[in-house]
Amino acid sequence: MDTGVWHDGVMEGTDRHTALLRSPIGRVAVAVIVAVMAFWIVAPNMPSSALRPRVDTMWTPATEIGMAQDWGVFSPNPRSQSIDVRARVEFDDGSIEFWDPPDLDPWVGAYRQYRWNKWQERVRLDSQSRRWDPTAEWIAEQFERDGILPASVTLIRRWIDHKPLLVGGQILDSGWNEFEFHTWERP
């Protein structure tokens, strides 16, 4: 069918997405795609309720293929702590070194730094304790000397508690606190 935009003798055909609307089958396909995708975009955002566990399976295919709906940014409140993870590495001769995640530049490095910060945010949690040994072992490998791993690696979580801003602009933040949450020893 000669349709579409003309360019001085050269006909610009209709793109495939638009052309789908030409046939009844195509229109049905578009209607189904729009309805299903719209449901998969909206429904997973439904708040927790008694109903939700019963209907979760309706968007399981979307979740499986890679669509994700989780937009609770800084919610319900921003986190009230600054957090940090570091490691104390001890060698057989008693010497000690510290490992910290990289501190990258704020211009280009910022687009890598957020991944390190997300990792810190998660690895420090008690619910993630199964990550602690592999993490400490990986850090130990970074400090290998002459093929010998350090004697031990101690993971340390550090944090600052942030209180809400007070009337008058007063800020009551704690200093850095720290807690050794896991020690790995060379087998």
Partner: protein
């Protein structure tokens, strides 16, 4: 210009008959009525740049986060479908090279629908290899690559177009049905609406939340900014205006009169967050998504006015005599 509707090709779906229901007319306007593809093309380029940045930035940490002996071991992969197994340094680097190729193809507009699907699969596979390092920006980038595959993003500003109609085709756009565009727009509004909805905590209500955000050491990009932290009035204005803007972007972006202001507000919001907070690719991806709300007809009018006049065009055509179709012509 001759369009599908003009030729009657869509007459059976174009509700022009008298007495046709308002609902049907609205549905036609919403999903079928053709418009220039400029907003989709601009969104395609921005999302392509975000994807390219994502892949290049990941390259430097591929061994650390994605390799076989990574800090985040393969035993911590997502339990969800990964599309591709990424279990070694080589797997990760091959996937990232493919993602760079996909991103470049998307930016220049070479078969962008196919490459958007490739980018979605690769982003999902890479992100599911180490889910502990991803944030909301990574998720929305993934979603938009999939949803933009449902749209004809190559119908303007694309290599595909230049190859077919010559270089002058950069100044024209195909007219496309917007049914896929609506999915991208719906996703964008849902992000804003539920970002607003979830901020139900005390610090958002009392107007102090922004102060806390800007004091979180591991989120600061350039260090603390005094006034944004300790000025009660400025902090309250920023906190509540963030909520107001998210609500407006989540509910009013389809209101034509408000749209330019909301798009500008959304861009300002993301640029300011990006300036002060480490959010990775969230800002640029959301700005890319906002581009789909631009007024297609207005852009078309601007481009038509800015297009080189015939004399200029003929000079430039002389410079490139190998062009098959030297003058694709402007729309009638």
């Amino acid at each position: 210009m001759t369009t599908l509707a003009d030729t009657g090709a869509l007459s059976d779906v174009a509700p022009t008959k008298a007495g046709e229901s308002r609902t049907r007319r609205a549905a036609h306007r919403m999903f079928v009525a053709e418009r220039p593809a400029w907003p989709l093309a601009i969104a395609r380029i921005v999302i392509g740049i975000a994807t390219l940045g994502w892949a290049l930035s990941m390259w430097f940490d591929a061994t650390t986060f994605l390799g076989g002996d990574a800090l985040v071991g393969t035993e911590f992969d997502s339990s969800l479908w990964r599309w591709l197994p990424i279990d070694s340094d080589l797997d990760a680097r091959l996937a990232l090279v493919a993602l760079v190729v996909a991103a470049i193809a998307i930016i220049v507009g070479w078969k962008p629908t196919v490459w958007f699907l490739v980018a979605f699969v690769l982003l999902t596979a890479l992100q599911r290899r180490a889910p502990s390092i991803i944030n909301s920006g990574d998720l929305i980038l993934r979603n938009l690559t999939l949803l933009l595959a449902f749209t004809p993003t190559g119908a303007a500003l694309s290599v595909d177009r230049v190859r077919r109609f010559g270089r002058d085709a950069l100044f024209t756009s195909g007219r496309v049905a917007p049914w896929g565009l609506r999915l991208v727009q719906l996703q964008m509004m849902i992000v804003y609406l539920f970002a607003f909805w979830s901020k139900s905590g005390e610090s958002w209500r009392d107007g102090s939340a922004v102060s806390t955000v800007f004091r979180i050491d591991d989120l600061q990009r350039f260090g603390p900014v005094g006034l944004l932290v300790d000025s009660v009035a400025i902090v309250a204005i920023l906190t509540w205006s963030t909520l107001a803007l998210e609500l407006a972007l989540g509910g009013l972006l389809w209101a034509k009169r408000l749209r330019p202001w909301l798009i500008a507000g959304g861009i300002a919001l993301h640029l300011s967050i990006d300036t002060f907070v480490l959010v990775g690719f969230f800002g640029i991806t959301m700005i890319g998504g906002l581009m789909t709300f631009l007024d297609a007809e207005r852009i078309d009018a601007w481009v038509t006015r800015a297009r080189p006049q015939p004399a200029e065009r003929s000079e430039s055509d002389t410079d490139h005599p190998d062009t098959d179709h030297p003058d694709p012509g402007r729309p009638d």
